[in-house]
Subunit: 287 residues, 2 copies
Amino acid sequence: MKAKAVELKAAGKKIGLAPTMGYLHAGHISLIAQLQGKCDVKIASIFVNPMQFTPSEDFNRYPRNEAGDLAALESAGIDIAFMPEIATVYPPEFQTSIEIEHLTQPLCGRFRPGHFRGVTTIVLKQFNITKCDVAVFGLKDFQQEMITSRMVTDLDLPVELVFGATIREKDGLAMSSRNSYLTEIERKTARALPKALETARRLAAGGEKRAGRIADEVRKSLETQPSMVIQYIEIVDPLTLTPVERITKRSQLAVAVFVGKTRLIDNVAIGPDGDTNAIYDEGEKHD
Amino acid sequence: MKAKAVELKAAGKKIGLAPTMGYLHAGHISLIAQLQGKCDVKIASIFVNPMQFTPSEDFNRYPRNEAGDLAALESAGIDIAFMPEIATVYPPEFQTSIEIEHLTQPLCGRFRPGHFRGVTTIVLKQFNITKCDVAVFGLKDFQQEMITSRMVTDLDLPVELVFGATIREKDGLAMSSRNSYLTEIERKTARALPKALETARRLAAGGEKRAGRIADEVRKSLETQPSMVIQYIEIVDPLTLTPVERITKRSQLAVAVFVGKTRLIDNVAIGPDGDTNAIYDEGEKHD
């Protein structure tokens, strides 16, 4: 991949990258579509990055589907599928990581120590290996994308970031490879997550300024599902990820829950300018 | 600098970088000379990097000589002097750093917490800003260069590193901008440092395999100077920087001392293949 990237850059090609952990869904494909017109060569990586899983997490059982992914990438118009081996990415002497001091602390950072260090490190490595000029990421992983953006600025990386909106199932559930863990019953339970986000979005759009009041409603809404365990419900400034008390500008509601053993995250912009991100397609029913 | 680098790369130029903190001496100039023939455009940076000084260190009094440095760079054939402002390099929201887990722990790492994190971060930023294809560093800062080399490998940086031998004064003292802190008497005391290294080098060249025995001789030699305070004397594997007990292959002796308030470091390769790095010019007297 390194040699190919050198060759492409020497030929004056603009390179686009969609970094993924595979088990591709419509969210990934929508990201790849965003590369259209922004580059000459489209690369998608598939790499389940052990460094971003904490020891108790699901690295070993993370879903994989190499053949299906390759077919999906081909139909999506990807030119190069980059699928490195773990031993190549992290040889025994490997000992380097990227630390983002503040943005990694709240939200998922509180519950997944070292996760974002793993994310930023693999993202930087893939930027350097592919020599990409533009890279696409999905806003379902909102905190990750804010951290990646900070890294690009702070380290003067010559990469343009493009963030794609969260792609959702018809019932509002954000697409995620981890949704495949859900049993049929859990899958129905999971609907409560986008529904709670939509409740919050409407409250804020209706003029509710008290973040605490909105978070309470989200909690109440999620607690209608006895088998859903809330990890966090936070309303934060979208750039600093610090808690917001009054919603006087666009803010981000971010939620993490467990449904059974499956951890789900979701987020939505709320408040001024936040109401363009409806959770449900127009006309879809959701109760 | 970023715009210029983009322009140079677009024109197919190969870029060389000599990162410095200024107050240039013959060591820096010898590094710049190493860029000759390796690139089309030679950049030298001058940036006293606050991030690599610990709070108790000499950031504020670090010697500066902008006019002299620019003249020296011009005579040395540098095409671009890159002298960024601190506020540009580290804006208020800056929060990213590079961590190298193991190589930063021993030697200077024990006494300068955070120092190497500051070094790797500014080096990576300068690599990205200048888009350099090749960069030169001096082996006087041996641990720093091993760490930089690790970073380049681990993060897949497209930069060739060139390491230049330590350049010394006639009496053997390694050139360093910090030598300017020394009073006339301290300057004479400082001679004991290269002399001790030479003693060690000769012992190892003469067949002494016991690292402890050699370190003891270095200590004894340094302790002839009552005003010299030893911070560390270590004999390590040059790649892993872990202590060596028996010198069965090329090893690195690294020493840090204080002479008055001035901290001096020096190092020499000892053992098999280590004897090509004589501390003194042939024919120079040193007692």
